[in-house]
Symmetry: D2
């Protein structure tokens, strides 16, 4: 290790641009998909076809969820500052934080612990027991709307199986579901936990999982900008906000 | 002019921090108000007491407007990522763009043109005539709620008069109001135009007016973060947004 | 047109999530690539295979350019607030503005004008003449490093030809290059103009082109977050900034 | 407590705007300073003159620190997207996170614990002992440049004493300094800890301390935008970043 940091990401010469050691114009443009390029960028490794399919499946799953707080922030901001689309998308991305993607990160930590254990089933049972004793919920299990199963979880795990990448983390997820059911709380894994399992099995490092959400949500938010261009909702969202949180005079301080 | 840019803003030594050529610990902390410091920072000049009062009046005026799109973006983002208050405030600031502060900048351009003219009254009449012929509205005049007058305009101009800083730009504002009334459209100046006049007369450069709005709104948005801590509204805002913009199936492409 | 805006993007039921009228778990996850999903999201139409390939080529081209201002902002922010990866990525995206992606939008306007003209060659000549008379540069032509040709332009246009989508906008680009050369200024199209041509020929609407840059750059910036995790450069970037812009005492006001 | 959240911040009628229960045009504009208004906004209470002076002193202290990562992000972003000043300021604010303002929050937690203890001196000693045993540093003590004392701490505490607001938290700070010295590590409180003490004694709630930094830094960043308008440094900062973090080819994967 030297004092001086370096970058291995990109280098340009008059007749070439090298990204991750590959010639952008000769080896990448027209040769690899955006998703394969993302995989290379986040891991430094070229993905297998199956790894690309799994990453695609996760990016497709996360992209669009309707008028989430994040999408509403983008639309309000675009309507307020249409000169700067980048600001509208950034405003929405700022909501991709602990409340919404924290579950994926929390689930990833549990799945990694189980996958690394000598006896995964016992480790899953221990995790469920610890959570019950602490009165805590397991991140990534249960869903207010999607019952009894989250259809996205079913689809993601089915793709993993089809692609031959149903690995230690997907098995860990199944161990957790079984341990929850055995403990009397049959809470199926929701999409956030399934995405954690699938991305870890595809070789995406744990520390950058939030980044996958950011890329996918960025595309989702650009779609909301497009809809705002075609069918502006900003004024309606503003009025609804004012009506939802009415004014009340402050109490007089004693 | 040299090739190499320099900064004159700040310099630290072991026993001092110098900001704009003044010792922060010996000449500024406890000696000048935040507003005086902002004036120094944006202009490089120490303000008079009257200039500070006018800048204070504008910052106080702009700070808080209730559940604006900007405030809603801050509250949705804080509720989604409470680990990063800076992200919530940044999301709100991203809505301080052309739609809301553009009027201040547009009015400032008109007021500067009138103030620089040999015959300000005639210049104001020419501006009103041009706008009428173009079918355009003058930025900073009229208000959907505050009629027949914007009470903030009255207050701001009264402070300017009291402080002896009712200058060329405030007079230009009066010329514009008269020219509008003479043309049969008595549209009084709203707060955005009054702020432009008062800040320009106080010596704030035209190019940085949006920055004054950003500083003031930043404080306003931190107040919304505080209210969100005490009385969370994020879930209510989210539900209201979903109800305000219902789903409709896309039309089938032919 | 009704008073009430609606959204056609997404709708969830207990056992399904519908995005753009398709079942996410049954028709999209594992079935379409992220890029195809982006195309659907930005246009409301399912892309052809060739259209996906062109959009992929553009997203791959734009993703990574080394330590651009945008990437530096991301790395400085991640090093300052590692609790909020979303803030670091948002900070970088805020630099995806007029200076860097403006050329793509400017080129797109010219290409659309040429493509819509009865005599595209004459229209290109008129544009070059107008620019010369105005002393203006054409957006998207020439490059400080990539001479005599931008290798990315060559690659992008070659993909368009290969996929049978070398359309009116790519032809317009060639008309402009010829008109520039005929006028004695052989400035080849750089990647920003080539991307405009390829995306327009692929059917992406002009108004949302900046959004394609945002999606691609978002992935690039996540890659910089990952490199910052592995090989932190924040302190080195900070020191370099301080050294590059040294302190100079402010001049005394007279 | 009801289900429906309300807001007490602001309410507008045709002839008035009410902020925190006071008439903006009649009781606030021209009557109170921006800093007094900030105090009211963050606490719901009107401040005393001394409380305003202390908040002013902290806002003045935090505003400007030269080319910090945050300021560099603002300048790079403004140079990349000058159409959106709000984006440049937001990019800088996103760096106001745990690494830079975390020390204020960490110190505030310790000071609150000491202030609430029956025997503050003993509590401070316990904190120092715990930190030593854990091999941890106390947040807000010591400074790489300002030795043996941080001149801003001296100034801030002197203002607190002058204004008669040297309260339990400032005393707690002194207890901590003494306990550190008694333990053989004479690390004086730096500005971040002093600001925590002064703001808490002034009555600003612990949970919103980061917000005070955000308001002050926002003004600082607008000053950097202004300097960037007058003396652009973006290109120099970009070049310096590229030189500071040179390219190195990635290692071949085995």
């Amino acid at each position: 290790m030297t004092d001086r940091p370096t970058t291995t990401l990109c280098h340009a010469t008059p007749d070439d641009v090298v990204v991750h050691g590959r010639s952008l114009p000769r080896e990448l443009i027209g040769e690899v998909s955006f998703t394969a390029m993302i995989y290379l960028h986040l891991t430094g490794r070229e993905p297998s076809k199956a790894q690309v399919t799994l990453l695609d499946a996760c990016l497709v799953t996360l992209m669009e969820h309707g008028l989430t707080p994040s999408a509403v922030a983008t639309r309000l901001t675009y309507g307020s500052a249409p000169e700067a689309m980048q600001g509208a998308v950034a405003a929405g991305l700022l909501g991709v934080g602990s409340v919404f993607v924290g579950a994926t990160e929390g689930a990833a930590a549990l799945l990694s612990r189980i996958a690394a254990a000598g006896d995964p089933a016992a480790e899953a049972e221990a995790i469920v027991r610890e959570a019950r004793e602490a009165g805590a919920r397991l991140p990534g299990f249960g869903h207010p709307l999607h019952r009894p199963q989250d259809p996205r979880t079913v689809a993601l795990l089915s793709v993993a199986r089809r692609e031959g990448l149903f690995g230690a983390h997907a098995h860990a997820l199944a161990h957790l579901e079984r341990a929850l059911a055995a403990g009397g709380r049959a809470l199926p894994a929701n999409a956030t936990a399934a995405i954690a399992a699938v991305l870890l099995d595809a070789g995406i490092p744990h520390e950058i999982l939030r980044g996958v959400s950011l890329i996918s949500r960025c595309a989702g938010l650009v779609g909301h900008v497009r809809e705002e261009q075609l069918r502006p909702a900003m004024r309606a969202l503003w009025s609804a906000a004012e009506a939802a949180v009415p004014y009340e005079p402050p109490e007089e301080e004693p």
